[in-house]
């Protein structure tokens, strides 16, 4: 199998299950996004090198609503990756593999609740109130 075909198969969701192959694919893609964000985050932190004033200035930019909206999207990715990741840790120790589908949806529900809560907190702090 050539690298092109392998990559195509890796990305494929045809015939795969949401709690199975699709969850796996999303887990990897969200992992990549989180990795990318980490570099962006380091970049942001390195603004400190230019002095405190410059960093404060930078913070006001990224605390503006469009950036906060992006943050909320990022939380979604992180919550998915985290919730699914916890399931996988248990699964790979042989726990809950037989009720895999139920386990997946319970974790998704927990993740979703967490994400909504955090979104609410962030939104009220940076956009609506505060």
């Amino acid at each position: 199998m050539g690298i092109k075909e392998a990559f195509k198969n890796w990305l494929s969701i045809k015939g795969r299950h949401i709690h199975g192959g699709i969850a796996y694919l999303f887990h990897r893609l969200t992992g990549l996004i989180i990795l990318l964000y980490l570099y962006v985050h380091f970049g942001a932190l390195s603004q400190l090198l230019n002095g405190g004033a410059s960093y404060k200035n930078f913070l006001t930019t990224v605390e503006s609503p469009p950036f906060v909206a992006l943050d909320i999207l990022l939380f979604f990715v992180i919550f998915y990756h985290g919730a699914n990741g916890i399931r996988l840790v248990f699964n790979e120790f042989g726990i809950g593999t037989k009720k895999n589908m139920l386990f997946f949806w319970v974790m998704m529900a927990l993740g979703l609740i967490g994400w909504i809560l955090l979104t609410y907190i962030v939104a009220t702090r940076f956009i609506g109130g505060g």
Partner: protein
Amino acid sequence: MDKVIFKIKRGTPEEWQYVEYEVPVEKGTTILDGLYYIRDNIDHTLSFRASCRMEVCGSCAMMVNNFPRTTCSTQIENVKPDGTKNGIKVIKLEPLSGYPWIRDLVVDFDDFFKKHESVKPYIIRKETPEGQLLQSPEQLAKFKQLTLCIKCGACVAACPISNSDPLYLGPAALAAAYRFNADSRDEGKNKRLAVVSDPEGCWRCHFSAECSEACPKDVDPASAIQKLKVQAAVFEFKRIFTGRKDGEK
């Protein structure tokens, strides 16, 4: 009488196309019945593997609407169509994915069986025993479900890892390894773990569990591989502390 259209991927890797055939359907007609109907009545040149037609030999697995199934035990009326054409249900049939394709619905299984062989899927004992090896029904129950594997290869075709990494041992072989590790008559657990605790062995599994969804015999290789990982982790630990490659004391 009802009809259905089989849209079959035909040809060789160099030259291929989808060809459509109309197949009559009655209650209980399986996809394999339909394939035989085509070969006997419409196109004698259609190539596919089949033998027992009772879901025990493992010959006839292929992709049915992108999902691997043993066609002998898949009734046409139970398949969700891939679409319709002129109001007739269309079923798409393709060779198993993740295997080297030979022709029409036939793929190359050599690598599959080589991987199965590589995990030492047989009882290993130091001495030949005399008389019966006693085994309680409870001990048997620990691995019985895993013995039902018919080596149809559907699990490998469903596995996203096998489909993108040809070196990965794959669900069938790993489940076979665990089947023997869990057998109370066996004494060769470490020999098997030395093979499977490899980056291309059980650690390559990321538990998408598609293999268990695809398995026609409910073998549940996904669970077996996770249990194998626990064994392999312990084995690796021992290997580090004893310094012995085979992990034996």
